[in-house]
């Protein structure tokens, strides 16, 4: 057992070593996101705290205000900001992080100023300082240790919350965690989590050191080592910021030197999307002059769609049914070809987006149970569940639970619902049904784990789930500027049927391989990477 543990560690270290350049880049982004947001929070929170401590009527409302903001769950905050600023990436992430960092800074500024002994403030007044001089020369310097403690809390907590900003495409170490969660890949999760934890400790130590460096040298310490160390510790936060900038932009400069233009490809947060993203990315890299900026793992449908519509990304793979129901909010339509025609026309009209030719495989939701259970109970169709539905526990993706053609449509079509419905993250959903923690899940028909986990999709005997094609959706303007992309992606058409897609997903989900490797091997095998 001890040896096995050691082996996992050494495997992980190898895994991490292979990804060192990316780790370096994401660490830099992480530091910058945290640094910029903490800096903004200081710029806003310090004056706000000073104002609140001097204006009695403001004090209660300011403290209550920043306190309430703090109770908004971080993911909800990111989602709200995403909607408000209508952009993915660093901007909404920095706004959200700044808002979170406000509370400790404002609160500690108020506490610090109020904690200055009243006799010292009276002395300042009594010798003839103006209100502003009292604040600047006496109250703020004496409150500084408490204020810095607040900044320290804000920055350390900020390092943690910054991991969430990968969810909206802002980068940072959360990107490893996100990708790891989507792929159930523990090595990837740890590659984000461990450096993030170390970074939090580092930020904590650095700010503590700087605070120590700010305490002036006492007479008796004048010639000690301490006195010489202080200026160095004072400069440590600056060094950390410089390191972050170098890590984040040093490598960005190399990318900027790449000749030609860049295509930004997005993806949602599950295996098939990552594989499709990489298939498209590698084809474009092999056959055009475009550089590819991979903005994968952008969460659910609406985030990807809005990013594409806003021009934050140029291309991602979407499913026709999802486009129809979730994006266009149209009623469910069972004719797959009609669905494709509808989304193609309406996307062009409403969003100036182009649906390219579908890859060829169909993907739809399928209510899925364990094969052994299906055999025992004689379940073959969804209707067969009717009699025992009120004892069954369902685990659905959040999207299936909510969307009009998902669970609500199922209840209407079959006239029953399940005893308990839980929203699960896609990769956890399959594990949950395999372990018997839930009885029914909303699987994707192309998911490799259906065979891997010995699951049984049930037939949709009332045909409420329309079949969906997957196809690349691209910005019309980008396609006009780079028409060659259409032909390159068209070469994938026909190469991906239902079985192939399921196999590729299986390679990732069950064999633990990474989507980019799986995509590369497949394209090589098919000869699709060769120029012709």
């Amino acid at each position: 057992m001890g040896a096995g543990w050691l082996q996992s560690v050494s495997e992980w270290l190898n895994f991490a070593a292979e990804r060192l350049p990316e780790l370096w880049l994401l660490t830099g982004q992480h530091l910058i996101l945290t640094g910029v947001s903490t800096g903004l929070a200081i710029a806003i929170g310090l004056p706000l705290g000073i104002l609140a401590s001097t204006r009695h009527w403001l004090r209660a409302s300011v403290l209550a205000g920043v306190g309430i903001i703090q109770t908004v769950p971080s993911l909800a905050m990111l989602a709200i900001l995403l909607a408000l600023v209508d952009k993915i990436g660093a901007v909404p992430a920095i706004i959200a992080l700044t808002i979170y960092a406000l509370l400790p800074i404002v609160r500690n500024t108020v506490t610090g100023i109020e904690g200055v002994p009243p006799e010292v403030v009276e002395a300042a007044r009594g010798i003839g300082m103006t209100r502003l001089q009292q604040l600047r020369m006496v109250q703020l310097p004496l409150a500084m240790p408490v204020i810095i403690a607040g900044i320290r809390t804000a920055a350390v907590v900020g390092v943690g919350i910054t991991t969430l900003s990968a969810f909206i495409g802002a980068g940072g170490l959360g990107q490893f965690i996100n990708r790891g969660l989507a792929l159930s890949n523990m090595q990837l999760i740890l590659l984000g989590a461990i450096p993030a934890a170390l970074l939090a400790v580092l930020v904590d130590v650095v700010i503590a050191a700087a605070a120590w460096g700010m305490v002036p040298v006492r007479q008796r310490e004048k010639h000690s080592v301490k006195a010489k160390l202080k200026p160095i510790t004072l400069a440590m936060p600056l060094l950390l910021v410089a390191l972050g900038i170098y890590a984040a932009f040093g490598s960005r400069l190399v990318a900027a030197n790449h000749p030609g233009k860049t295509i930004r490809i997005g993806s949602k947060n599950f295996t098939e999307q990552l594989v499709l993203g990489d298939l498209m990315a590698q084809m474009i890299e092999a056959h055009t002059d475009l550089a590819v900026d991979r903005r994968f793992n952008l969460g659910g449908t609406m985030i990807c769609h809005e990013a594409l519509a806003a021009g934050e990304i140029d291309l991602y793979a979407e499913y026709t049914g999802t486009g129809l129901v979730t994006v266009l909010k149209r009623p469910v339509e069972s004719d797959a070809n009609r669905v494709f025609d509808m989304v193609r026309t309406e996307y062009k009209e409403h969003f100036d987006l182009e649906w390219l030719e579908p890859f060829g495989f169909k993907n739809t939701y399928a209510l899925t149970v364990r094969k052994s259970v299906a055999r025992d109970k004689g379940w073959q169709t969804i209707s067969d569940l009717a009699t025992s539905a009120d004892t069954l526990r369902a685990g659905f993706t959040a999207e299936f639970s909510e969307r009009a053609d998902g669970y609500p449509a199922l209840r209407r079509a079959y006239g029953f619902g399940f005893a308990d419905v839980r929203d699960l993250e896609p990769s956890l959903m399959y594990q949950a049904v395999e372990k018997g923690e839930v009885d029914v899940i909303s699987a994707f028909t192309t998911d490799g784990r259906i065979t891997a986990y010995d699951l049984q999709p049930l037939a949709d005997n009332r045909r409420f789930l329309p079949p969906y094609f997957a196809a690349p959706v691209i910005r019309s303007k980008f396609l006009r500027d780079h028409p060659e992309v259409r032909a390159v992606l068209a070469r994938l058409v026909g190469a991906l049927d239902d079985n192939t897609m399921q196999t590729l997903n299986y390679e990732v989900d069950e064999k633990g391989r990474l989507p980019d490797d799986v995509a590369r091997d497949f394209l090589r095998e098919q000869g699709l990477l060769n120029r012709n």
């Binding site: 006799e119 010292v120 009276e122 002395a123 300042a124 007044r125 009594g126 010798i127 003839g128 300082m129 103006t130 001089q133 020369m137 006496v138 310097p141 004496l142 002036p216 006492r218 007479q219 008796r220 004048k222």
Partner: protein
């Protein structure tokens, strides 16, 4: 000259008075001691002179100018103030503490530096040894000397001292009292000194103003106050310590 004319102060809108109908003048160059037990209104009276507290009624003139017609900040810079307790800025070195008022009124760095040395010599602390220390690197007596040095730094005509030696041990207090006495003989600052210590009052005062319950009982030279008390309260005040001293000597 400082002139208080019919000055009253109420902190609760007229229900009770901390200072009532107080009229008093402090002559140029004299040290007037406000003497009374705690809560008698002596500190309130002192703080009304430099407008740390505003009077409810009456007028106060410093140098024949009504203080309420002056900018309080400017007024305070022209009046040296030594605070009860410590009152030094803990984050400033000795030199920064002393030069603060000259800095506020815009003296040049050279002039400030020279003045700091002067006043430090004056209060008996060698500048070379003490100017770079922080208040927490000084004894209580040294801290209060710096307090006096700070009040003197901008060379004000007036000094207000609010029980400056109250927190010191008896021996340190005694030596500081003696030094202050010789210092004020030399400098002839117009000084108002607040204390509840009868011996301190007798030691330092040119004249003593005895206060009780917000009212002025008597203003006179120490000699007169002792020999010719104006009210039963004043007689009682000075008889008690004399009795105690006598009883103590008798028991010996």
């Amino acid at each position: 000259m400082i002139v208080l004319d019919g000055v009253s102060k109420s902190f609760d809108g007229g229900q009770s008075y901390a200072v009532r109908e107080l009229s008093l003048h402090v002559n140029d160059g004299e040290t007037l001691v406000l003497l009374g037990s705690s809560g008698c209104g002596k500190s309130t009276t002192l703080k009304m002179i430099n407008r740390l507290i505003e009077p409810t009624n009456g007028t106060i003139h410093v140098d024949e100018r009504d203080v309420t017609r002056q900018d309080p900040v400017m007024l305070r810079r022209t009046i040296g103030y030594v605070f009860q307790g410590i009152g030094l800025f803990p984050h400033y070195r000795v030199i920064q503490n002393i030069e603060i008022v000259p800095r506020l009124v815009g003296w040049s760095a050279n002039k400030r530096k020279q003045r700091v040395r002067e006043v430090m010599e004056l209060v008996g602390l060698p500048p070379d040894e003490f100017s770079d220390r922080f208040p927490d690197e000084l004894s209580g007596g040294q801290q209060q000397r710096i307090g006096v040095a700070r009040a003197l730094a901008a060379d004000p005509k007036y000094l207000l001292m609010d029980e400056p030696f109250g927190a010191l041990d008896a021996i340190t207090r005694d030596s500081l009292q003696q030094e202050l006495k010789s210092l004020s003989k030399r400098l002839r600052k117009t000084t108002v000194f607040v204390t509840h210590d009868i011996f301190e009052a007798l030691t330092l005062a040119d004249r003593i103003a005895v206060m009780h319950d917000g009212r002025l009982q008597q203003v006179d030279t120490p000699q007169k106050v002792l020999t010719d008390p104006a009210t039963p309260f004043v007689r009682e005040l000075f008889e008690k310590p004399a009795r105690q001293l006598a009883a103590f000597q008798g028991a010996d």
